[in-house]
């Protein structure tokens, strides 16, 4: 571990410790679609898009009503700068969601994910079904940066930024995980997979610890900052693994959301995994899992709604955002604004 990484890890751990004994110092957001059976052309019947959870536990909608949001990201320097990825591409607001601008040209469409580099906050990464576009000016301009990605097989589900080093990021693509260490000037494959990589997450406790889930190629773990990856043997490959999450309050707690397996959790850092679906509707079709800053586990169940568990999956209760399908959970240091 580099000195910088060690320092950041200590900061994170201190924050976690503080966090566990005081009010959360984080904001918690979701991207959710509430409108059922929406198809292009039909009227939007309900509010959809970005929701922030208040300290009282309510969900407050922010910005546009859009059924197609796949992710949201913020400028760490200014919470009023918001990015969302959606059907039309990349949307940006500079005023806390009052006004929005589409940032991509017509030849970028159906964006899968957006990420902001916390160490180079002007740099925005947009994941696309046909590659990756990057902005270095807060999405005023977007340029494709795909050097090193294959001509075919660059369907990119997401780009996850390494919080310890500017310009270091991982892309989850159709044929594997790709790494850039120069702000997407070039990419190289660090894991070959037989199917699409759906999610890549960095531990909030150890920045060298990464987890990835795939469509049909199992779950993977890296302990060396994403340079090498090993399959997680305790997680079956027979079903799609949509996403994975760490618990920022407890380094041993992990969760995976799966179509077919539902919620899988580990409480020993990934050595063993448990089925945590008792109390959730059947069949086990969990769209996403997330853990909020207090350690509450969420599971978004397809065609049902959002559920939460305060005992890490042993029991579940329906959340107040009825009928929602969550595409993305995100935790940010609490806004001072």
């Amino acid at each position: 571990m580099t000195p910088l990484k060690t320092f950041l890890t200590l900061i994170t751990l201190m924050a976690s410790t503080t966090f566990s004994t005081a009010a959360p110092e984080y904001d918690f957001y979701i991207c959710a679609k509430v409108n059922r059976d929406y198809v292009i052309g039909s009227k939007v019947e309900t509010v959809n898009g970005v929701f922030q959870r208040t300290d009282e536990g309510a969900w407050v909608h922010q910005g546009y009503n859009d059924t197609t949001l796949t992710a949201v990201a913020f400028d760490p320097r200014d919470r009023n700068v918001i990015y969302t990825s959606a059907n039309n591409g990349l949307w940006r607001s500079l005023d806390g969601g009052k006004h929005w601008r589409i940032c991509n040209d017509w030849d970028m469409t159906e964006a899968r994910h957006v990420a902001v580099d916390p160490n180079a906050p002007d740099h925005v990464y947009l994941s696309l079904p046909d590659g990756i576009a990057v902005s270095t000016d807060r999405a005023q301009t977007l340029v494709r940066r795909e050097n090193g990605l294959p001509e075919r097989g660059k369907y990119t589900q997401l780009v996850t930024i390494d919080r310890t080093q500017a310009g270091r990021a991982f892309a989850g693509c159709e044929v594997g995980i790709y790494l850039t260490e120069n702000g997407a000037d070039s990419w190289r494959r660090v894991l070959e997979t037989t199917d699409i990589v759906n999610d890549i997450q960095q531990s909030p406790h150890d920045p060298d610890h990464w987890l990835a889930t795939t469509q049909s190629a199992g779950a993977w773990s890296s302990r060396d900052g994403g340079l090498t990856w090993s399959p997680i043997e305790g997680v079956p490959r027979a079903h799609s693994l949509y996403n994975v999450t760490f618990d920022m309050t407890n380094p041993d707690r992990l969760a995976i959301g799966s179509w077919g397996l539902g919620v899988l959790t580990s409480e020993d850092g990934g050595k063993t995994w448990q089925d945590r679906n008792t109390g959730l509707p059947e069949p086990q079709r969990v769209w996403r899992v997330g853990v909020d800053p207090s350690g509450r586990l969420y599971a978004s169940v397809h065609t049902q709604t959002l559920f939460y568990s305060d005992d890490f999956g042993r029991t579940w209760q329906p959340d107040t955002l009825k009928g929602s399908l969550v595409n993305y959970f995100v935790t940010m240091p609490k806004s001072k604004q």
Binding site: D37, V39, I40, G41, S42, K43, V44, Y64, N65, D66, T67, T68, N87, N88, H99, W100, R101, I102, D105, W106, D107, T109, E110, R112, P129, D130, R152, G153, Y155, E174, I196, Q215, S240, Y242, W259, G260, R285, H302, T303
Partner: protein, 629 residues
Amino acid sequence: MKLTQLFAAMVTLTTAGTAIAQPAFDAAPPDRSVVQDAAIREAAYLARVNEVLNWRASGATVKTDDPGNLGLAAVACKLALGEDLEDCSLSVIEVMKDPGTGPFWMFPNVCVAFLGRDHLTDEAKAAIRETWRTTRQLRGDTENHWVMYYASLFLMSELYPNEPGESWYNGLTSEENLAESKAFLIDWMDMTTKIGQGEFNTTHYIGEYAIPMLFLASWSEDAEMKQRGKMMLDWLFAELANVTLNGVMRGPNSRTDEGSVIERWNALASYFSWILFGNTPPTKGYGGWGVYFATVAKNYQVPEVIYRLATDRGDDFVQRDRARIRRRWRYSEELSPPVHKTQYMRRDYAVGSTTGGQLDPIQAHAWDVTWDEPDPRGKHPTMFSLHPNSSSRAMQMSFTAYPEPWIKGVTNEGKPSYDSPDKIVGSSPFEQVFQDLDTVIALYDIPEGTRFPHINGFFSKDLVNLTEDQSGWIFAQGGRSYLAYRPLAGYHWIPYLHYTGGWAKEKLPVGGQLLTSPHLQNGTIVQAASVDEFASFEAFQDAIRALPLEFNLEPVPMVKMTTLRGKQVSFTYGEAPIVNDEAIDYAKWKLFEGPHLNAEIDGRKMTITHGRLQRVLDFNTLTISDAVK
């Protein structure tokens, strides 16, 4: 045109103001004779246009306490006719309180905005404009969505120039929206005129291309876009004319539905044949979206060469074309693989095909033999087979959704039969097709474990004299066509059950049956001929039985035969077909090649020919050149 036709047209024009019926839909099918006089043709065209406008404008009434009940289609028609303008404004204000999202909302909105420029109140116009600020419009995920979206955005940006980003839902200024939209539209036109459409020969979506192009041709202030719109209309309608027989679209479709595949006439494409060529009845409600075309149809009329292409048929002809498969994001070595199409058009029937394989992931139709019916309404004049492929992976190629909910999801999105074993719409990676004139050979090599491990052959309720012959051939007559269908493996019959609409939840019997053959290695041969070519149905059967035919199903299906037209044909699954000892080289095929339509790959130029008439659409120079040879 006969005098009676002219009289009928004049009556329609003069009584337009009071008509509420849908006369052409209810009436006998139109006279198919070619209208030689251009003035009469134009009068008849305008009569049809007025029929649509009057029907839609008169079919709705305004309740004083509910002015919003008109709807945009009726408002557009009333604006085009210049009637009930005050109610139109009230209705627009009401409708704009609850705007929709996406291209299917945008282009009707644009239509009303432009037609209402001089008729709507300032308040109504402001209400329209406000929706373009407040409501996020989705671009969608298919070719027709994008064309509608950008044509609409382009025109609205022209209508409201020099306005800041804050006044548009997407934060771009009028000029930025104009540039963005124009860039997309030109790219789409380039691609279409160089390598073809991804959504080729669509039974319904042709409206989603033609209507935005007509709007551009009618309203754009940009001379280039106006000209491009007009040229694309000619391009689209020339292709439509060429793949229709008496106004009904034939052969393969990139996208269609259950209804149009069997009742071939029942498609928006037939509405366009009716309004442009007058040679088939319009569909119910003028195809729905077709109403918007009528509102500005007076700004466009097909040139004579296209009109004659649709209506004035002499010799049989073969057309060979190329198109492309819609964009594949993943699980494919190619982004947009080519599609090779063959169409053989005769007086009594048509045979059309692609080379099979995975086409559009949901709604494709790979091949058929269709026959003419004097009145096509309610008739199922078609014969074909398919593997009813249902695959989330196939859908994932072209869509970004996660695969697991997809199959169920798509059946809730207007494609109810997608996951039905007895469906009759869809393409399959396990089907390969070869056509030579009126012979079609479809071979199937379905892997073990494939969902729905069988093939379906469609046998219409309108076939007569259906005979299962001891030779293995199945003979039948459809209209004035003799048909022979040879299944290459064992089969059984089941009734055909039909989803009556895109959103239908239950299947109903509508007549007809399916030949279901539960064998992984499989095949179908179809031969067609006109009744005029044989002394009797028995003579046709004798001729078919006498054809030299060998086939094997293992290790892969193979057919070697002499066709009814005397060609020596050999076709093995996975190999290029061979005709008279020469392998077919699809790589050499042009974008369009035939007696009527010709275009080179990457040429951006189409030559349309009928008899001595010729029109050249040259997108390199944006010129339309007419000649009489």
